[in-house]
């Protein structure tokens, strides 16, 4: 049933029809078509339907045959909805004579036609019309007569058309067209409601015997077709949907008595375009009641899709087709026995592709954009994928069978390829059929697929082509994840085709897409496939493989492993295999390969305090290693790096073989005697060339977010000092002392000092200080080494260094490497840094007072640092030598810091304790504890200053040693520290000289004499307000000046009495010049008046050289001047 136009008949008197005028009129009428904006308010439905555009087909009445012969209900539009009669008669008489009769005949011929409307069009000449509207014409015009005669009910079915006025004027047609619309709608409405009733009646009879679905279908479809003809596609679609529903309902009830079979497979059924309704005489089949379910459903689908295509819902077309193909394909499998082999696959394939073509064709007329376009693409891609999957299920020639089975097994594992291999078609409820059991007589008709089944290359090509097309379309639709899945399946195909490189590329790039959102299952699957590809291709396991394997193991570790999808039953075996091959691959690596932060292993320190190894120099660190993998991990070495304050590194290592799953504890050793507080920096597990590394502190502190829980907390490790180990300490005066050399194992120390920038050590000039020991010193340009340092001995080495006065303290890093006799092979090291004050601990200040030819000097010795200093002796020695005739003295101070003194004292006295012979390692610890106790509280200092007793603050230490400590404390309290003069005192020699005057130095002695008496002992009372005569005398002495200048006899000097306006009024020479000569006195008389009573100090007198500080006036430079004249004036508006 093709789309029909609405039929409208016309008739007119024979004479008129044959005239040219009719032809013009007919053409003009066609020009007004199609009808636009028809609003239909159906009786049976609530809402108003709007038909945008409606094509009409104008036919002559006599060409319409009465088609009541057929019993098959056809579209309501099959028969005309409207009949038009055109009258051209301007004369009432003519009307009466002929026209009236003709109209009556015409009307009579219509009378038996149901549901048809009619209109009489009275064509008038426009000029004639004007004449006819004669006021005096009593008879009325022809139109009125026609109206009066033929308008039987209220509707006015007669209309006048002015001609040829209407030829140019569209408005002239308005009345006619609106009448046509009205007529059409009313006829259609009646017809539809009538047909609706029929359909309803038929539907109600469903349960009655003899009810035939096909009849019902045809009946109902006729309605749908009518709506379609009226361009009411939505309504038509609704009818088809209802039909589909009721068909499904009928099918469900298995009331299929009127259907011969589910399907009568035709020769080309599998390759015909799905959405074509002309490929088979569907309607005839239905009418003949011989249609199969297959055909009927395709027919309904094609109709639905056609309508959807017309209203532009192309995405829905694809969706519907995909749904239908999958669901009905399943249905067909129930009867696959009677179908040619692979009919279903071929049918699905061809249908999907043809549907896409058809949808694309429809989509050309619709403007798609945005989401709708995406949806369309997505649905198309789904169809493409469906078609692709069908290719997979195709039959294949002999040599491919085994291949395909294998691939399919691979594919099933993958889950990417259809899970129904062609040889075990295991749709639920359908027994699997061997290929041979199928009727081979008929084959599928799709040539493409036939070619594929014969030729493997063609098969792969087609499959790949379709997959790529689907991927492209998915990408266009924005369905990235779908595309990823297909990429995965292509990779699986590549594996089969031995294109390992591209397969590997895909497999190794895919995990990155699944990782971000934690789809670990898929990620790990991809990784395991990549591993498999390596195994299959036999390629060498390179770095990329190691990366993949490590990434896979990352996912295998921990809680997520329960969600892993690969090799579920024997995951442990699989992981073990991976780990083993990882070991092999890593062994083959030429260069070290490090991998950061692998979660499968984690290393934790067991104890924060590291204790020294008992019998050798070095420390043991206990760590627990947690292996989250389900199999043991072969490893060769575990290392932990600690980082100290000066970023010095300690490396604890141990050799291992296997790290068992779960937690295991290891003991790590570091051959170093450095001690202090360290921060856990890095841990490392080595598997031959592979280094798994974990960083335990952030690279930058900025990267740490201010969050309560994620804040970085460093792991601190305290390494206790091993008093028996090799030690180095730095002391002022920049001497290096080895000591307290407890180590019996010292063999060949090698020492390197690094000072702050700018300070260099002159190692070559270093000398052994103090007592000569058995050790010998060898100096190189950049280090010193000491040979044969005996056990329990100490050696002091003086190393001169360049000027360090720029620093208060010098930060000196000492690196010592040494071997012990016991384990000569082990290189031990000691990295230590200490601060040495660069300034002197004491300062000597001298204050000089010149009194004529005598000089008084005050020497002050003060501690420059915040240390208590003990001074043993201080002497002043005169240094002979003529330096301009003045003396130079050396102050020699024997001093030491009090702590050093006490230390020395303790050394002596604790040694004296019988219980603690010298070799006891506890000795130095006891001393250290005592010192620490002294440091903790400074009260004893004041006490000691008075009584010279050392009262050690209470030590609350661990029980066993407490007693001894108390004993020491008592001993210290009793013993006088004053007696402890022995020990090493530091001598500091500082040169002090009497100031050398560069020029003549004057001593001015201003003296005030009373007016009447030369002697000052009987001073008369002075009263405020009274004038007091005074004498200013200036005595000059050249005694402390340099001898060379003595030849010069005199200097021109000036004196100045400073005015004190609140105390004194001064009268006389307040300022004056005088000649200064050795041992001469210059006198000036002045008068003073005291302004108030009280103790007043006399005015100050200052003397200076005349030309010492003269002032000159400097004038500003006057070369150029700028004057601004009359600014803002003289502005006038012209």
């Amino acid at each position: 049933m093709s789309t029909q136009r609405v039929l409208v008949t016309y008739s007119a008197p024979q004479s008129f029809i044959s005239s040219d005028q009719w032809k013009q009129l007919y053409d003009a009428l066609l020009g007004q078509l199609p009808l636009r904006n028809i609003h239909w308010k159906p009786q049976t439905r609530p809402s108003i339907r709007t038909i945008q555009e409606l094509e009409l087909q104008l036919v002559a009445l006599d060409t319409i045959r009465d088609e009541n012969t057929s019993q098959v209900p056809c579209s309501l539009l099959e028969r005309p909805l409207l009949n038009i009669y055109v009258v051209i008669c301007e004369d009432s008489d003519a009307y009466k004579a002929t026209a009236r009769k003709q109209i009556k005949d015409w009307q009579a011929s219509l009378s038996h036609r149901k549901n048809q409307e009619w209109i009489i069009v009275h064509v008038v000449r426009s000029d004639a019309r004007n004449v006819s509207t004669n006021f005096f014409q009593m008879k009325g015009n022809v139109l009125d007569k026609i109206k009066a005669e033929f308008n039987t009910d209220k509707r006015d079915r007669c209309v006048q058309l002015a001609w040829p006025l209407a030829q140019d004027n569209p408005a002239a047609w308005a009345e006619l067209l609106s009448k046509v619309k009205d007529g059409l709608l009313s006829a259609f409405d009646t017809a539809v409601s009538q047909r609706d009733d029929e359909v309803r009646r038929s539907e109600g009879q469903q349960s009655m015997p003899g009810w035939n679905f096909c009849t019902f279908f045809i009946l109902k479809e006729s309605l749908a077709a009518s709506f379609e003809g009226m361009n009411l596609f939505e309504d038509a679609l609704r009818y088809y949907d209802e039909l589909e529903m009721s068909f499904a309902h009928v099918l469900r009830e298995k009331n299929l008595s009127w259907f011969g079979t589910l399907i009568i497979p035709g020769a080309k059924d599998d390759s015909l375009p799905l959405l074509s309704i002309t490929k088979k005489p569907y309607r005839d089949l239905i009418v003949a009641n011989t249609v199969s379910v297959f055909d009927l459903r395709i027919y309904i689908l094609a109709k639905q899709c056609g309508l959807l295509g017309k209203i532009g819902k192309v995405a829905d077309v694809c969706r519907k087709v995909a749904m239908f193909l999958t669901s009905f394909g399943r249905h067909l499998r129930e009867v696959s026995v009677i179908l040619p082999p692979y009919f279903i696959e071929s049918w699905t394939y061809s249908s999907a592709l043809s549907a896409i073509e058809q949808a694309d064709f429809w989509a050309r007329n619709v403007k798609l954009e945005g989401i709708v376009l995406n949806q369309f693409n997505a649905c198309k891609a789904e169809l493409l994928e469906l078609a692709r999957n069908q290719v997979w299920l195709l039959p294949c020639s002999g040599h491919m069978v085994a291949d395909r089975i294998q691939l399919d097994l691979f594919g099933i594992q993958l889950g990417l390829l259809p899970s129904r291999p062609p040889f075990s078609m295991s749709s639920p409820g359908v027994p699997a059929l061997p290929v041979d059991a199928k009727r081979e007589s008929r084959i599928i008709s799709n040539s493409e697929l036939l070619k594929c089944s014969a030729d493997q290359t063609a098969f792969y090509d087609l499959y790949t082509k379709l997959t790529n097309r689907a991927i492209d379309t998915y990408v266009k639709a924005g369905r990235r994840k779908f595309a990823l899945r297909l990429h995965g399946s292509l990779a699986a195909l590549d594996v089969r085709q031995d294109r390992m490189t591209s397969a590997l590329q895909t497999y190794s790039s895919l995990p990155a897409h699944y990782a971000p959102h934690g789809w670990t299952s898929l990620e790990s699957y991809m990784l395991s496939q990549a591993i498999n590809v390596y195994a299959l291709s036999g390629t060498d396991k390179d770095k990329q493989w190691i990366n993949i394997a490590l990434a896979y193991l990352k996912l295998c570790s921990g809680a997520t492993s329960s969600e892993s999808l690969t090799h579920q039953e024997n995951s442990t075996t699989y992981i073990t295999e991976v780990v083993d091959s990882l070991k092999v691959a890593v062994d083959k690596l030429n260069e070290p390969f490090s991998y950061p932060e692998h979660p499968a292993l984690s290393i934790r320190l067991l104890d924060e305090i590291v204790v020294p190894a008992e019998d050798e120099d070095g420390y043991f660190l206990f760590v627990s290693v947690l292996n989250l993998l389900s199999c043991p991990l072969p490893a060769s070495k575990i290392c932990v790096s600690l980082s100290g304050r000066e970023s010095e590194q300690l490396r604890f290592c141990t050799q291992v073989k296997l790290i068992e799953p779960g937690t295991s504890t290891f003991k790590l050793f570091c051959p170093s005697s450095s001690w202090g507080t360290y921060i856990l920096d890095q841990t490392e597990v080595t598997m031959s060339n592979l280094h798994l590394k974990w960083n335990h502190r952030p690279a930058t502190m900025k990267s740490v977010q201010a969050s309560r829980t994620k804040r970085f907390v460093p792991t601190l490790v305290r390494i206790l000092k091993d008093v028996r180990a090799f030690g180095v300490c730095l002391r002022q005066p920049r001497s290096v002392e080895f000591g307290p050399g407890m180590s019996s194992r010292l063999f060949w120390p090698f020492l390197l000092l690094t000072g702050p920038p700018g300070v260099t050590f002159r190692f070559q000039e270093s000398t052994v200080d103090g007592d000569a020991t058995s050790a010998s010193l060898e100096c190189a340009t950049d280090s010193i080494s000491i040979a044969d340092l005996a056990e329990d001995s100490q050696i002091s080495v003086l190393i001169p260094h360049s000027d360090a006065s720029a620093y208060d303290t010098m930060q000196i890093t000492m690196l010592a490497t040494y071997n012990t006799r016991k384990d000569a092979a082990v290189n031990r090291s000691l990295l230590q840094s200490s601060r040495v004050p660069a300034s002197l601990p004491i300062a000597v200040n001298v204050q000089d007072f010149f009194r004529g030819e005598r000089l008084f000097s005050r020497f002050t010795i003060s501690a420059s640092a915040q240390n208590y200093i003990c001074v043993s002796s201080a002497t002043l020695e005169s240094v002979q030598g003529d330096k301009g005739g003045l003396s130079i003295f050396d102050t020699l101070v024997q001093m030491r810091e009090i702590v050093v003194q006490i230390e020395a004292y303790l050394e002596q006295n604790v040694e004296a304790l019988d219980d603690y012979p010298q070799h006891d390692p506890d000795r130095s610890r006891l001393i250290a504890q005592t010192i620490r106790a002294l440091e903790s509280d400074s009260d004893w200092v004041a006490h000691r200053g008075i009584t010279d007793e050392l009262r050690v603050p209470t030590l609350d230490k661990e029980g066993a040693q407490n007693k001894i400590l108390t004993l020491i404390g008592e001993m210290l309290t009793k013993g006088k520290l004053a007696g402890a003069k022995s020990g090493s005192w530091r001598e500091i020699r500082i040169q002090v000289d009497v100031p050398i005057l560069a020029a003549v130095r004057l001593r001015l002695i201003p003296t005030l004499f009373s007016a009447n008496s030369e002697s000052s002992d009987q001073m008369p009372p002075l009263y405020a307000g009274q004038p007091i005569p005074a004498l200013l005398s200036i005595k000059t002495s050249f005694h402390w000046g340099k001898r060379q200048h003595a030849s010069r006899k005199s200097y021109q000097m000036r004196f100045d009495i400073q005015e004190m306006v609140r105390d004194w009024l001064i009268s006389g020479r307040k300022r004056g010049d005088f000649e200064a000569e050795d041992e001469s006195t210059y006198t000036v008389a002045i008068t003073l008046i005291a302004l108030h009573h009280g103790e007043l100090s006399l005015p100050k007198v200052v003397a200076h050289q005349v030309h010492g500080a003269e002032k000159v006036l400097i004038l500003p430079r006057g070369g150029r001047s700028t004057f601004i004249v009359g600014m803002g004036e003289g502005l006038s508006v012209e």
């Binding site: 749904m323 989401i371 994928e385 889950g415 924005g478 369905r479």
Partner: protein
């Protein structure tokens, strides 16, 4: 509790007489919960072999695309929780549901010719949503998680809470698999 929710919602479901005669087996194959940030929370194959689990993972993953598409399409109108049929692949159909807090629930039904009624699917979704809600409502779940972890990934895979959540989901699946026809209505 989840089962109760299911039966209570199903009792009010209208059935046509034709459906009433037969029991509905929707062929529930797998259930997937996906977090608002698209992290998988749980992918569970409830019927069929575990071998298909990978496939279900794939389906759950790809369904995110379709869900995004739907949300984008309905960006102007307030979106309904039930997203309906998402897509079909091979022999399964995927249905989606999104909670107001953007948790995505996806169920995978074995495709059959029978008509799947939305009401049935919605009731399963509601029960599943309820099961998740019950499992996630435990305030102690976040006890040991850092404060600034994304809020959505409460149910840490493998934790004891997760196991109990899985049990709840299985309960729903059992109820849905043998969903009895309510003859009362």
């Amino acid at each position: 509790m989840a089962g109760n929710a299911l039966t209570s919602s199903s009792s009010s479901r209208p059935f046509s007489p034709a459906v009433d005669a037969r029991s509905i087996n929707l062929g529930l194959a797998a259930i997937a919960f996906i977090s608002p940030q698209n992290h998988p929370i749980l992918v569970r194959a409830v019927s069929g072999s575990q071998e298909d689990l990978l496939k279900y993972h794939y389906l759950a993953h790809t369904s995110l695309d379709v869900i995004d598409e739907r949300i984008a399409a309905a960006s102007k109108a307030p979106i309904e929780s039930y997203l309906g049929f998402l897509y079909a692949l091979e022999d399964v159909a995927v249905y989606g549901y999104i909670t107001p807090l953007k948790l995505k629930i996806v169920i995978i039904l074995t495709l059959s010719d029978a008509v799947v009624r939305d009401a049935d699917v919605i009731s399963i979704f509601k029960a599943l949503h309820w099961a998740y809600y019950r499992a996630a409502a435990n305030p102690l779940l976040k006890l040991h998680t850092p404060l600034d972890t994304p809020n959505d990934h409460i149910l840490v895979v493998g934790s004891p809470e997760w196991v109990s959540f899985r049990k709840r989901v299985d309960e729903v699946a059992r109820a849905a698999g043998a969903l009895p026809v309510d003859s009362a209505s």
